[in-house]
Structures are given as structure tokens and as C-alpha cells.
């Protein structure tokens, strides 16, 4: 090796030294992309572009899991499940970025067949190549050591664990126990076991899981939000049209921003508070760069 080459390599390598990266991180605030409009596919794409575009997360050949909320036998207008147009746009973006396979699933509360069908998500993804919309199969759950505050270990879905990229696509809605449910709580859809047992200490429990299972990108559907009787809703009077999609690599920041759409403060939501305290992300919106498009 020539001396000149050696110096060049050393110079480049120095950029990747931990100190350099740390300095970069300190300068850059977490970014939340907020897009508004009535073309839900378009605003989803805009929100993702605002945080750097899908190519930043998905590399050619990646297996991508897109996890919407489709837990309830409710129609898209009832705002209990993620808007199918938003889900489709995220999936299409992942495919366009070169994903080898995109897997979409949720562990539902009502009958899975009815949830997949009536959420409109199954139909919205029909015909897309390299997209799998399959029901949860219990044998795929794997016990994962969390060593958390509330949970020592829990079963997580193998498809998520083995994927290269995990994109969390919740709907923002009211939730009687936790105030609101967004990205942090949407993670419950990839958890096995008796999830009802988590309710005793839901904030710390969800922080435990989110600390281990990172959402590389969180895209919150707030095209319409459910303001009461959540998480299931059903009454059109509880639905408010917001025409908004929020994207961020910081799940806590995304949740924190979505909380404001309900006229609430991030500190009102214990799940957000617990996650921020755990260092999973930033809930103080003053320390977040919001890019509106």
C-alpha cells in the first residue's frame, strides 16, 4: 500500500469514528415529516420524502415488514384501522426502493379474516407483486429476551425479527386505557402470548418491547382520527378528518406530534412518557424538527 493511499483511508475512516458520529447526532434534531392533503397516497409519499425518502431505509434486496393496525372488524371510515391508501403507498414506496419482499400482517382482535377484509387493506394490496398479506401463524412467535422494567421476555413475531426493515404504520386513535394509541402501542400487533396481561403496566411494558424491537420508520395515519370510544370506535360521530400523515425515524417524536392533533400534550400519554424516559426517542416537540409539506 502506498503511503498516500494509507493517509486517504485514514482520513475517510476518521469520519466514521464514534466521536464524529456522536457529534453529528448532537447537532441534528430528530425530524418529523408532516404532510397534509386529501390525496392520501401522495401525502404518505411526501411525509416519507421529508424524512429522507424510502431509499434511506430500504436497500435493494431487503425484506420489509409493514405493520399497519388492522386489528378490528371495522371499515376504513370508522378510523379503527390504518387507512388502506396509506398502507398501499408505504408498500409501494418500499417496493420502489428495491425491497425483495414486503410482508404485511397484524395480530388482530376480531376474526382475522374479517379484519383483513373489512379494513380494506387486503384489497388495497391485491395484485402487488412480492407483497405477502398473510395471517399470523402462532408457530412463528419466538421468545425474545427483553430484560426490561416490566417484561423480562416476551414472544415476538419471527417475521419481524428476521426482516431487514420494520416499518410501523399505525392509525392515530383514542384508546380508553392509554389515552391514545399510535406507533409505540401498534407494536402490540407483533406480540404473542396473552396481551391482555400487559394492561396492568402498559407504559413500561411497551417501552421494554420498543427498546428492543426498533421501528426503522414510523408512518402515522392521521387522515382521519378516532377521538373517542377507542380503540375500536364504530360511531361516525367520533371520527374527525385530519388529512394528515406523519413520518419519522423517531417513534416517540412521531407519537408526540400526533398527540397534538387530538388537542393533547405528549406528556398526557403515559406510553409516550415511559418510552421517552427510556431514551427510545424525543417527546419534547421543541427538540424536534418538524418539516411540514
Amino acid at each position: 500500500m502506498e503511503r498516500r493511499d494509507f493517509i486517504r483511508i485514514m482520513a475517510i475512516a476518521s469520519f466514521f469514528s464514534p466521536r464524529m458520529v456522536g457529534n453529528l447526532g448532537a447537532k441534528e434534531l430528530p425530524v418529523v415529516g408532516v404532510a397534509t392533503g386529501t390525496d392520501y397516497g401522495k401525502i404518505t409519499r411526501n411525509a416519507i420524502s421529508a424524512v429522507g425518502g424510502m431509499k434511506r431505509f430500504v436497500k435493494p434486496g431487503d425484506v420489509v415488514v409493514v405493520k399497519p393496525n388492522m386489528g378490528w372488524d371495522r371499515t376504513p371510515e370508522q378510523a379503527a384501522n390504518t387507512n388502506p391508501q396509506v398502507v398501499r403507498a408505504v408498500v409501494e414506496e418500499a417496493l420502489a426502493a428495491g425491497a425483495r419482499k414486503v410482508k404485511v400482517f397484524d395480530r388482530t382482535c376480531n376474526d382475522e379474516r374479517r379484519c383483513y377484509a373489512n379494513s380494506g387493506i387486503e384489497a388495497a394490496l391485491k395484485g402487488l407483486h412480492n407483497v405477502e398479506v398473510r395471517f399470523i401463524e402462532n408457530e412463528r412467535f419466538k421468545k425474545v429476551s427483553l430484560n426490561g422494567e416490566a417484561l423480562k421476555e416476551w414472544e415476538l413475531y419471527g417475521e419481524v425479527l428476521s426482516a431487514n426493515v420494520f416499518i410501523n404504520v399505525p392509525v392515530a386513535k383514542h384508546h380508553k386505557l392509554t389515552g391514545l394509541t399510535m406507533g409505540l402501542k401498534n407494536i402490540m400487533g407483533v406480540m404473542g402470548g396473552d396481551r391482555g396481561k400487559l394492561h396492568k403496566q402498559i407504559g413500561p411494558a411497551l417501552a421494554d418491547v420498543n427498546a428492543v424491537l426498533k421501528s426503522h420508520l414510523t408512518v402515522i395515519d392521521a387522515t382521519r382520527i378516532l377521538t373517542d370510544h377507542g380503540p375500536q370506535g364504530g360511531d361516525p360521530a367520533d371520527v374527525k378528518i385530519m388529512n394528515t400523515v406523519i413520518a419519522s425515524t423517531d417513534i416517540v417524536a412521531a407519537d408526540a406530534y400526533a398527540t397534538t392533533l387530538f388537542g393533547l400534550k405528549p406528556a398526557d400519554i403515559p406510553v409516550t412518557v415511559a418510552a421517552a424516559k427510556r431514551g427510545i426517542g424525543e417527546m419534547d416537540l421543541k427538540k424536534v424538527r418538524v418539516i411540514k409539506v
Binding site: N110, L177, K200
Partner: protein, 522 residues
């Protein structure tokens, strides 16, 4: 050998029966366009007991009336051309060694059974389904065969995962095809599964007492059709085996002691006509009065005995009013227990189709007279709010076929909290999984925030759930999802007043985040 038209028809109907059986399942559409109930709607035994028990007619059973009229003209063709159980017997009989039938089996027993079934109907008890051949077959398939096949397939599939891991995905399309079109979606196990299978096996086993022994000696539907067949003018001639040939005796499925069967037992399969080398046999219209081998009705003693027995049965079995059994939860839309028992034929279709496998055959929960009738068991499965499938497949309308909006309001029972179990009350910890799952948009389960003390004396803020009775339809999802092990902290109990819950009024002017203080039930 070329197959006879009767055999071809038999096989087609058997295939149709099995095909419809498989379509009796939710496959992504709210409506099932064809289900196996078509067979029951064409079952004259179901018609007879329905008419007598419910004392009304339903258009659902029009095909059965048609079959009865056709039987009066052409004889017992149903058994030889359509009945899927008869076809199974015909297919199995060649492998079963024949012996002599015990004397008690031959003769009057079948009339006694039929008379008892029919005799108990006017007293409001519809027992047709207990021994109806279609119901026997369907129950064995629903409760035993299908779950067993499904379970075997699932076990194999899961086993493959243990061996192959994620590379099993290459085989997934094949399994999906099976699972989507043939296997049951959920492999639930049923009580009475073995009993149902044994009953069917017994029927097949009876073939050792002669070809179609079940059909000739016991089957109540066959007996009823046989009685109607006595009036049929379409008869075989010659009326007995010819002395110089007797060839047709070898092909007749119901030949008895070397004698040609009477019109009552003749299945009109025309095997003898096809088998006759001398072209002597023909079936044609004859004056039935010329063939009065026996009266149009069986012996008075048998008839009266059966009917009296039936009445006694119907009254005597009811030692306790059904409503007194607090966990007697019927499928949605069933408002009156007596009316239900009069109409339900216990075919098991509602249990087959139930989306969440919430319906199970009753052993004795509904009294002995309720054997095989459907019960909702919320701990095992709940009634899906928007689903209307059980009403769609019920062949007699015992479970009414309701629109989505109507069915959602029908009351199965009412949920009640058990504060000695429910977590916020008993353990002082937050939960409200039940409230989350309650599907009624205005929430039949609500909660209020109460400042309380936990078990260690620390101050806690608790959400205490309660039931809004006027809104509860008893779907049972709360009991189903209650995270407590074993006994649930909330349970659904039967109620007498099953008037539907009021239409949900969307009266709120605008959506807003409500606090518990706005709650009128607080």
C-alpha cells in the same frame, strides 16, 4: 360396468353435499351464497316435525314439500338417487360381511321411532334431527371428521416449520390452497365429536344386517318416505321375481329374504330393470289400489303407541324450564327457547359456520331434550358483532336470517361483572380489556376513574368497569378476552327479556375527546 343413472345421480349429490359442506364457512364475504342447508330444506322429515312443532310453515322448506309430493307420485326415489348417507352405505356395503338381522330390528321398530319423533312434535319438541340421516352425516363431518382432518393438516404444517423454519414459505401457496378451500379455518374440537362419529359408524356397521339395513329398519326419513311411497302409482312389474330367472334379485339393493321389496322399500333405482336380461321389468303408472299388500298406514297400535310415547317424551323430559339454566346462551336472534326447540333440527350447520367457533352442541346444558342444539360458549369463542352467518345457514329459520344492523342488536344474554375476580376490583390493578373489545359503538362496557388504594396501601387511580345493560347484546367478547385464567371476571348470563337493544343514535353533534365526567352513567 357402466354406471346406472341412479348411481351417477347418487355420486353427484354426494359430491354436492360435500362441496356445500366445505362452502359452509366464511370465505371473505358477508353472505354465503350456497350452503349445505339446501339438503335440509329438501328433507320431508324436517318439514313434518317443523309443521307440527312450530305450527306454521316457512318458505324455506318449500323444497321439502316438493320432495314429498314427488315421493307420493314416484315413490322413495330420494333414498336411491339423492341421500348422501345412502350413497355412502352403497359404497361401503361391498366390504362388509353380511349376517342375519336380529328380529327386534326388523319390522315395527322403525314405525315406532318415526311415530315418537313425530308424536313429540305437537308438544313443541322437534327431535327430527337426532336420527335424521342428513343430520347424522353432517354432524359426524362437522364435529369429528373435518376438525380431525384440519388438525392433522395444521399439525403437519406446524411440524414442517419446526423442521424447515422459514424455508417452509416455499410450500405456503400449496397449503394456502388447501386451507382456503378445503380445511376448516379454525380447528376447534367439539363435545359429542366421538358420539357423532360412533353414530355414523353404527349406521355403516348395520350394513352387516343386509344391504341398506339402516334405511330399511331404522331411518326415520326413509320410513316417512316409505309411507308416502305406499301411495305411489309408479310400480314395478312384474311384482315378484320370475320363477325362471330371478336375475334382478342379485342387483336389488333392498331385496329381503329372496322377495322383491314392497313399494315402500323399493328405492326406484331401476337396477332390476337394467339388470333384466329378458326386458320384462318395467316401472310404470298403475292403480295403486290394486296393490294393497298392506294398508296405507302402519298398525294402529304402533302408531298410537309411538305418538303417546312422543308426547310423554316431550313433556316428561322437561323437568325444569330451560330459562332457569343461566348459561343457556342461544345463537343471536333466538328470542324464545320454546320456539327454538320447536324449529331447530340439530343439523349442526350453525356450529360449522360459526366464525369464532363460539357455538357448540349441547350435551345436557339445555336439558336432555336439547341434545345437539347449539349453545354459545363465550369463554371458547364469542359472537362476532357484524357476522350473520348462523342465521344464513339455518335450514328452518330457528336462527333467524337477519340483516347486519338487526343482528347486532339481538340479545344473546347480558354481561355481568364478578367483582371478586375482575382485576380492578379484586386486585386493584388496571385492565379494561373488556371495554376495549366491546363492539357496541356507544360501549356497553364503560369505566370510571376511581381514586383507590392498592393492596399494599398505596394510593392508585383505577378504572373500574361497569356494564350498561340497555346496550349489552351479550356477544361474549368481554368474557372471551378477559385476561384472567380460568374463570372470567365478566360473564354473560341468559335473560328472559331478549328485546333487541335500542338503535344506536349518533346524536353527538361533533367529535370531541370526552372525559369520564361527561359520562351519564357515572
Amino acid at each position: 360396468m357402466k354406471r346406472s343413472p341412479a348411481r351417477i345421480s347418487q355420486l353427484l349429490f354426494l359430491l354436492l353435499f360435500l362441496g356445500l359442506f366445505v362452502t359452509t364457512e366464511y370465505r371473505g364475504k358477508d353472505e354465503i351464497f350456497a350452503a349445505v342447508n339446501s339438503f335440509f330444506r329438501a328433507d320431508p322429515l324436517v318439514l313434518a316435525t317443523y309443521l307440527l312443532a312450530a305450527k306454521s310453515f316457512t318458505l324455506l322448506l318449500l323444497p321439502a314439500l316438493l320432495v314429498l309430493v314427488l315421493t307420493l307420485i314416484f315413490g322413495r326415489f330420494f333414498c336411491g338417487w339423492i341421500c348422501p348417507l345412502g350413497t355412502i352405505l352403497d359404497l361401503a356395503t361391498g366390504r362388509i360381511v353380511k349376517g342375519k338381522a336380529p328380529p327386534w330390528l326388523v319390522g315395527k321398530l322403525k314405525y315406532l321411532i318415526l311415530a315418537t319423533l313425530i308424536g313429540s312434535a305437537p308438544a313443541g319438541l322437534n327431535l327430527a334431527g337426532i336420527f335424521d340421516p342428513l343430520a347424522l352425516l353432517l354432524r359426524a363431518l362437522t364435529f369429528f371428521v373435518h376438525p380431525l382432518v384440519g388438525d392433522a393438516a395444521r399439525t403437519g404444517w406446524v411440524g414442517l416449520y419446526r423442521v424447515m423454519g422459514d424455508s417452509r414459505d416455499y410450500l405456503a401457496p400449496g397449503y394456502a390452497l388447501l386451507h382456503d378451500y378445503l380445511l376448516p379455518f379454525r380447528e376447534s374440537s367439539y363435545p359429542l365429536a366421538v358420539t357423532s362419529a360412533l353414530l355414523l359408524l353404527t349406521v355403516i356397521f348395520m350394513e352387516r344386517y343386509g344391504k341398506r339395513a339402516w334405511c330399511r329398519y331404522l331411518c326415520p326419513l326413509g320410513t316417512l318416505l316409505g309411507l308416502a311411497s305406499r301411495f305411489s302409482p309408479v310400480r314395478r312389474s312384474p311384482g315378484r321375481l320370475c320363477g325362471d330367472c330371478g336375475e334382478c334379485g342379485n342387483v336389488c339393493p333392498t331385496l329381503e329374504n329372496g322377495k322383491m321389496p314392497e313399494s315402500e322399500e323399493c328405492l326406484r333405482c331401476f337396477a332390476c330393470q337394467r339388470g333384466c336380461g329378458r326386458s320384462r321389468v318395467r316401472f310404470w303408472f298403475t292403480n295403486p289400489l290394486r296393490f294393497r299388500e298392506f294398508p296405507f298406514l302402519p298398525a294402529r297400535r304402533v302408531l298410537l303407541g309411538g305418538i303417546a310415547g312422543g308426547l310423554l317424551f316431550a313433556r316428561g323430559l322437561r323437568w325444569k324450564s330451560a330459562e332457569a339454566r343461566e348459561r343457556l346462551l342461544r345463537p343471536p336472534g333466538v328470542r324464545d327457547e320454546a320456539d327454538f326447540l320447536a324449529k331447530c333440527v340439530r343439523c349442526g350447520e350453525c356450529m360449522k359456520v360459526c366464525l369464532r367457533s363460539a357455538l357448540y352442541p349441547a350435551l345436557f346444558q339445555a336439558g336432555i331434550e336439547g341434545l345437539y342444539t347449539p349453545l354459545l360458549v363465550p369463554r371458547l369463542g364469542y359472537c362476532e358483532y357484524h357476522c350473520t352467518l348462523c342465521g344464513q345457514v339455518c335450514p328452518t329459520g330457528a336462527i333467524p336470517n337477519l340483516l347486519k344492523g338487526e343482528k347486532e342488536r339481538e340479545v344473546v344474554g347480558k354481561a355481568v361483572f364478578d367483582k371478586n375476580h375482575c382485576l380492578p376490583y379484586a386486585r386493584k390493578s388496571n385492565c379494561i380489556v373488556c371495554e376495549e373489545h366491546c363492539p357496541v359503538p356507544q360501549k356497553a362496557i364503560r369505566s370510571r376513574v376511581v381514586e383507590s388504594m392498592d393492596l399494599s396501601g398505596k394510593k392508585v387511580s383505577l378504572m373500574e368497569p361497569y356494564v350498561v345493560e340497555e346496550l349489552c347484546n351479550g356477544c361474549g367478547i368481554c368474557e372471551h378476552v378477559c385476561p384472567l385464567e380460568g374463570k372470567s371476571g365478566i360473564e354473560v348470563f341468559g335473560v328472559k327479556d331478549k328485546s333487541p337493544i335500542a338503535v344506536a343514535v349518533a346524536a353527538k353533534p361533533a367529535a370531541k375527546v370526552k372525559s369520564v365526567d361527561d359520562d351519564p352513567y357515572r
